[in-house]
């Protein structure tokens, strides 16, 4: 059963992660969902696929009233990112979904109406949550051609979508990266194949190096924290991506 854990808490400002689902069907990739809570409002990052909606919704419900989720943030358009949209809308038809303008007419195939979507321009935007200003950071071509990450400057946490993702074996199920060198081996093949552009990768590295990041939270695998964040960015910059063989 997926569990919801708090990874950051400062007053009424929290980051929750819904991670690791040992009961999910083996043919469905495991995903992490992140909830940013500020006061009585929350944003859910990459809500996940429809197949895992029951697990995500019930795990989130154990920690907070799901009706406080006012918006979804979809890093891109993949089914494991946002195909549960129509189910979230069942519970809250007024829910808004932030997503790259590029996918504005594609994601409605999963659900929603014109009112549901708030398009993010290529340069990014600020997303208000209570008195917080979250920042949609461009991450185009990593891997999707219209891709954003979400940065919380107050918590110093970057939700990094597929960047930093690792396909971990069942026995490596810690919430945080414990042994960077061992962990990154499970990330290498994924990044080489899924990330399509070295230029885009380097631009992203420049962009996030300028941010203060205590935790880098990918959609698959473990969370990087402390010095491992810098290690990851350095590793990623040196990696040749967009190649077929790892």
């Amino acid at each position: 059963m997926k569990t919801c854990k708090t990874i950051y808490a400062e007053g009424d400002h929290r980051w929750l992660v819904v991670a690791r689902d040992p009961e999910r069907p083996g043919y469905v990739i495991d995903t992490n969902e992140y909830v940013i809570v500020k006061g009585a409002e929350a944003v859910l990052c990459d809500p996940g696929g429809s197949e895992i909606f029951p697990a995500v919704f019930s795990a989130v419900s154990a920690e907070l009233d799901p009706s406080t989720i006012k918006a979804l943030f979809a890093s891109h358009q993949d089914p494991d990112i946002v195909s549960s949209l129509s189910l979230w809308l069942e519970f809250n038809p007024g829910l808004r979904c932030y997503v790259s303008w590029l996918w504005g007419s594609f994601i409605p195939h999963f659900g929603g109406t014109a009112e549901t979507f708030i398009p993010i321009a290529d340069g990014g935007m600020t997303i208000g949550l209570g008195d917080l200003d979250l920042v949609a950071v461009p991450a185009h071509f990593l891997h999707s051609s219209g891709n954003f990450h979400l940065y919380d400057p107050k918590a110093r946490i970057l939700f990094s979508g597929d960047v930093g993702a690792a396909l971990l074996p069942a026995d490596q199920n810690g919430l945080f990266v414990e042994d960077f060198d061992k962990h990154i081996r499970c990330a290498e093949g994924f990044h080489r194949r899924w990330m399509g552009s070295n230029a885009a990768k380097n631009a992203w590295c420049d962009r996030v190096e300028a941010l203060q990041i205590d935790m880098l939270c990918p959609q698959h695998g473990a969370i990087y924290q402390g010095a491992d964040v810098g290690r990851f960015i350095e590793w990623f910059r040196a990696l040749q991506v967009g190649v077929l063989n790892s």
Partner: protein
């Protein structure tokens, strides 16, 4: 999750019904040409084939009515496919909501008013969809009864054409042959209508 056997069979039956309709429309086109030729032949035969000419005209009218009936059936079938597909999607959603409710219970979380209202809405929607599909099925069957009546009338016309053809004097052989072709073509249509009836009969 996959569509239930109900939806699989309802959708594949609808696809089959569509195929039968296409076949009947193709046959109708053929019979229309045959009737046109028969009218010309009857004109050449003169007074002895006047009755045959009238029957051929009636056959053309019959075909026009049959084509209209087929279009109506096609429209109802298309609406049924839309309704059944929508129902399949909604059933999937319903299944997910039920699983969510189960997982909440497993975690010892009480069903909230929000969850309850979604479940209530889902159940109400399912009932409305059931009623819509039943109404569409009723409309399909009513159209089919009309088509069956029409085809019976067509069979009577074909039989009468055989008799009229026999009185066609020196054109009797040619007219009888045309009448025989009419009869065979009407039988083809009857087979298709029978198949339509079989496919549609269990669609509810």
């Amino acid at each position: 999750m996959i569509a239930s056997p109900f939806h699989n069979s309802a959708l594949s039956r609808a696809a089959g019904v569509n195929e039968d309709i296409k076949r009947i429309i193709a046959i109708a086109f053929r019979i229309n040409l045959m009737a046109l030729n028969a009218i010309l032949l009857a004109r050449r035969a003169g007074a002895v084939a006047r009755g045959f000419g009238v029957l051929s005209n009636e056959l053309r009218e019959f075909i026009r009515a049959l084509e209209g009936g087929m279009l109506e059936l096609r429209g109802t079938t298309a609406r049924t496919v839309t309704a059944v597909s929508d129902d399949a999607c909604q059933r999937r959603t319903h299944g997910m909501i039920e699983r969510t409710d189960q997982q909440l219970r497993l975690r010892g979380i009480q069903r909230s008013a929000q969850v309850q209202s979604v479940i209530d809405r889902q159940e109400l929607g399912a009932e409305e969809r059931r009623q819509d599909i039943a109404l569409l099925h009723k409309a399909l069957m009513a159209s089919l009864v009309e088509v069956e009546r029409l085809v019976e009338f067509g069979a009577v016309l074909a039989r009468t054409a055989k008799i009229e053809g026999a009185y066609g004097g020196e054109f009797a052989d040619s007219l009888s042959l045309v009448a025989l072709q009419f009869g065979q073509t009407i039988e083809d249509i009857m087979l298709c209508v029978k198949s339509l009836r079989e496919r549609s009969g269990g669609a509810e």
